[in-house]
Symmetry: C2
Subunit: 516 residues, 2 copies
């Protein structure tokens, strides 16, 4: 088991570094015994160079071959059995049923992308016959870096959505494991590497680097052979990577998902008619996973008399239990964030029972003017913290919406009459978020074709990407066109015969027929 | 005619600034009399704020209404008649027939985008029904800045492709006119503003700012209400805008097309069989428009004995005439660029007859090792300068291709046997350019659905964009999704009934039917 603490540079284990770190066991409140070595600059370089070499082979694999690879990863993850879930639970404090669901989601994502590339139309083939004859499709960018997220040790981590999308597109992945779950990362990486070997993918199509310092991630981001970066985490972390990537001699795109406060607007009609039930649903969404979701609804805005709604929140909060946070750092940031909100003038509304070393849900309240004067009150506090902003009427609610910064999601609750009367609120929020919800809650992000998990800065960069759903594949591609190419030299997807019957925009018309 | 020199902030003429500049008449070698005022910071601010206000109305226009607007711009440009062409010719030195063709292209672009948005499928609607119900489409970003290019006073300038794409997407445009053709820019802006008024578009949907200093463009790029920038010009100019936009408190995307050397690879078979004809065609492409095209083929690589090819180049060059460049600055940069190539070791091959104040075509030559050792020899020299790189065989040609930086285009000339034997060269070049050509020349960029005018850094940023063709519209949009929305609150494009019969990805299947 000595290998667990090492870098996985393709199939080679490497432990050049002398710096080590260990993972925290949130439930036991102790450091786990396994030591992990921080990747050195040389190891990082080796992993990216191997990925660049692998790209020359991997980019020529057929979609069918990559689909087999993706499905083999899912099967390998499943074959790891309970040890994967137990390890993840030990390192994150997340309960087994949640991790079981997350593994299912992770495998579903891999299989969804397998289906997308197998069907083939995703390459956006565009053909204009004439003089000249021009034919366009999406091609993979090259080796990319994926930074695992702390809060989804499986679904947004080593074998998570970013890796699935990049591998589906045809890009080798160098993954920087999140230091909060290095052993889980190691296990997921073994599943990917096993699948790669079984399906005869080139060595270097996947590598795993361990590290707890910013420098290791920055060295990866600066590597000249790297073509894109996907990241899910804090605003500070995402911004630092964005700045590094933008100031490289050859800048590369960073797809950073940096979270937001995901405002929930409760319109006056529903507040009066259904406030108590809403309060219970809100608390459930706010405290799910101890509030450690990018789409956690950290701010809720009411219009009109919110007294009974707030009373229901108070009653509901009394019954909540405290939970383990992922790391001591995240717990400490949560506590500091709450303190900061108090400093800015937020007033206590409700607080769940506390326990040492655990995070209790906290509800704060503020008036419209306070949050308008202190935009800092609308910065994300990662964890089960909710700020209830009371406004007197929908006009004030609109004013609040107008000055919001970019968000992953924005939610509106209303009766049919509320919604009909406030279509303008939807128009405002459309400019602020990547996903708009009516009468729902933003936690729980469906993985499908239509999902957008992204939004204007500072939610993500750039706003045009999504890190969930099949659209995520386009973060790792660019268009190329072939002018006056002989049929035989064209990629199959662009040939007249259209061997895979994919949908193509041919002379401006969508068709899946062959061209005659 | 006093207004000509002023800013056009919506329909209001403004001349707050005291700094002025004039345009150069390349054919006459003199400064034109009309003075233009440099936009002030206050005027720039006013234009963007008006655009932001206009966006609230413009984003709600229907595609049909915007199509009418785009077609009205084309008609207004045409209605300007000869004065537009004569003014452009005076300010650029470009001949009238070329400008007539460019006007046609400009109007065609506007009408092409009108057709695209009218048809409607461009919004990439994706619908997943189920629990939850999620529906995605592209929406406009908001006010954008367009920087006019020097070398296409109509087609890549005020009413050019970037403006057409942005207005089609639903984004108001603040255009920074290129100081080399301010009067042409003013005329094109009057056509846009007239069309906006005729078709009842909100004031501020278009504004024009004049300016000859970097500061004016930078102030525009820094404006907090701006959502994206489109630029065509030099590497230095594009890079400066990219750096400004990336370091804003809220970074925004810059779509900068910064040119390249557009390498042309001549394989051994065709070099021997058809070298003389190729030489003539190459010279024509190289000297078209006095070499002032982003896709000018500035580097040509041969494999095998190139003696008779080079002799043909020499004979052909002798018969060429010198031409006016767009500005004294561009002429001076051309001359400095040639000198720099000589300094790096390039040797003279041929030089067209010279004339004072004009640019003569120059062919230089170098060996493979020289260009491998001096990557600076492969930096663009804007103008009719061609560097002929001789290699002994295709293996050397591959080595050259491998170390190329990003390009807009890469071209391969070969007999059928050449091409069949060198498919690997295409594979290498696919990673280097946005457009690959076989047996053609890269000048002359077709405007259609399949064109890609973009490529890896330093050709453009980001590589995933195109500034020509209908795909250009996506630079000004982002996806948003609507979860569990009542049918009546959804945008028309996402409703079950599908009133415009657009193509949509519904539960993973492409269909233009209504959903039942």
């Amino acid at each position: 088991m000595q290998d667990i603490g090492l870098q996985m540079i393709g199939n080679r284990m490497s432990g050049e570094g002398s710096k080590t770190f260990r993972a925290w066991a949130p439930a036991q409140q102790e450091w786990l015994p396994q030591e992990f070595r921080e990747a050195t600059g040389g190891e990082t370089d080796a992993a990216v160079l191997l990925a660049a070499k692998a790209f020359n082979v991997y980019k020529k694999t057929t979609a069918a071959e990559r689909a087999v690879f993706l499905r083999a990863i899912a099967a390998s993850l499943e074959a790891l059995g309970d040890v994967l879930l137990q390890t993840a639970s030990a390192e994150t404090g997340l309960p087994l049923p949640r991790l079981q669901g997350e593994r299912e989601r992770t495998c579903n994502q891999l299989r969804l992308f397998a289906g997308v590339i197998e069907e083939g139309s995703w390459v956006n083939a565009r053909i204009d016959r004439g003089t000249p004859d021009v034919r366009q499709m999406q091609i993979p960018l090259g080796p990319v870096a994926v930074f695992g997220a702390s809060n989804f040790p499986l679904a947004f981590s080593v074998a998570g959505g970013d890796t699935a999308a990049a591998l589906a597109a045809g890009c080798p992945v160098v993954c920087k494991a999140h230091p909060a779950h290095p052993h889980t990362s190691h296990l997921a990486a073994t599943a990917i590497l096993k699948a790669a070997q079984e399906t005869h993918m080139p060595e270097g199509v996947f590598s795993l680097l361990q590290g707890a310092t910013i420098e290791t991630g920055q060295a990866l981001a600066r590597h000249p052979q790297l073509r894109a970066i996907a990241f899910t985490g804090s605003f500070a972390g995402g911004k630092a990577l964005f700045e590094t990537a933008s100031s490289r001699p050859v800048p590369i795109p960073v797809y950073a998902e940096m979270g937001s406060v995901n405002p929930v607007f409760v319109l006056p009609g529903v507040l009066q008619e259904n406030g108590e039930a809403l309060a219970a649903q809100y608390l459930q969404s706010l405290t799910q996973g101890v509030g450690q979701f990018c789409t956690n609804p950290g701010v809720l805005i009411t219009a009109g008399n919110a007294d009974s709604f707030k009373a229901a929140l108070q009653r509901g909060t009394d019954t909540l239990s405290p939970g383990c946070m992922l790391t001591p750092g995240i717990l400490s940031a949560y506590q500091k964030g709450l303190l900061h909100l108090h400093t800015l003038g937020a007033r206590a509304l409700a607080k769940a029972p506390e326990a040492p070393g655990k995070a209790a849900a906290v509800l704060l309240q503020a008036d419209l003017q306070q949050v308008m004067d202190n935009p800092g009150m609308l910065h994300e506090v990662f964890g089960p913290a909710g700020l209830i902003v009371s406004t007197g009427n929908v006009e004030e609610m609109y004013a609040f919406a107008e000055q919001l910064e970019g968000q992953l999601t924005a939610t509106i609750h209303g009766t049919p009459a509320d919604l009909e009367a406030n279509a303008d609120l939807i128009d405002i929020l459309r400019e602020k978020a990547g996903r708009l919800l009516v009468n729902g809650f933003p936690t729980g992000v469906a993985v499908n074709h239509a999902m957008v998990h992204g939004g204007p800065w500072p939610a993500t960069t750039p706003a045009a990407g999504t890190s969930v759903g099949t659209g995520a594949i386009y973060r790792f591609t660019r268009p190329v066109c072939f002018q006056d190419f002989p049929e035989g030299l064209l990629p199959e997807q662009l040939r007249n015969e259209n061997p895979h019957n994919i949908w193509r925009l041919a002379n401006g018309q969508w068709t899946h027929d062959a061209l005659t």
